[in-house]
């Protein structure tokens, strides 16, 4: 949770975050990673590969709306 707090502080518009909000962001991030990995794997399977590759992430970003915010971050 300490790293989450560090990241939150990066935002110049954030004054202070409650302990509960930091906790929620941390937990949400775990769920996000889980979701992202699963979705990437779906692409891997569709292409009949055994190894998940970076291009699978790029495909997820392109195809799924909720991951669109990651567009351009995979360089």
């Amino acid at each position: 949770m300490a790293r989450i707090r560090t990241l939150i502080k990066v935002d110049p518009h954030v004054t202070i975050a409650s302990q509960e909000s930091v906790f929620l962001i941390a937990k949400a991030t775990e769920l996000f990673v889980d979701s992202l990995a699963k979705n990437m794997y779906r692409i891997t399977q569709q292409q009949k590969r055994k190894t998940i590759q970076k291009k699978d992430l790029e495909a997820v970003i392109e195809v799924m709306d909720e991951f669109a915010f990651l567009d351009g971050t995979t360089e």
Partner: protein
């Protein structure tokens, strides 16, 4: 204030564990993708924070609250996370409350013990004073004793 890139990454061990648990056994993930996922997670935190903060500011608050984060996730189209997160939050709040009362109980027990010790010390020093008083009374009696005898002798 320059931040090193490493400082903004989430712990690799945690990211690695979550990925492993998300995927069936035997699935291989390239190092590059693992790295990309980690970076995506950091971007998620920043984006979520920013969104949540907007909700807080809308309500003229400076403190980011749990409700802001929930609202942000719904806005970001991650509403499927919300029910599970609400459960996690309840558990977390209960744990924090229990921790707090446990700390208060320990503090009170410690204070009570210190008070007893203080009382015990006071009692001991009173006992010592009492003994000293008794001793000086004995000395006074001894001083008088011989004088009386002498007086008696003189009379005869």
């Amino acid at each position: 204030m320059a931040e090193k890139p490493e400082d903004l990454n989430l712990p690799n061990s945690v990211i690695g564990r979550i990925i492993k648990e998300a995927l069936p056994d035997g699935v291989i993930i390239s190092k590059e993708s693992r790295s990309a996922i980690s970076k995506a997670a950091s971007v998620f935190v920043l984006y979520c924070t920013s969104c949540a903060n907007n909700f807080a500011l809308q309500q003229k608050r400076k403190t980011l609250k749990d409700t802001d984060v929930i609202a942000a996730l719904e806005d970001m189209e991650f509403e499927e996370f919300v029910p599970l997160l609400k459960d996690y939050l309840e558990t977390y709040k209960t744990e924090q409350k229990n921790k707090k009362s446990a700390t208060e109980k320990r503090k009170k027990a410690k204070e009570a013990l210190e008070n007893s010790l203080d009382n015990l010390n006071e009692q001991e020093s009173e006992d010592v004073e009492m003994k000293e008083v008794d001793k000086s009374e004995d000395e006074v009696i001894d001083a008088d004793g011989p004088q009386e005898l002498d007086a008696h002798k003189t009379d005869n």
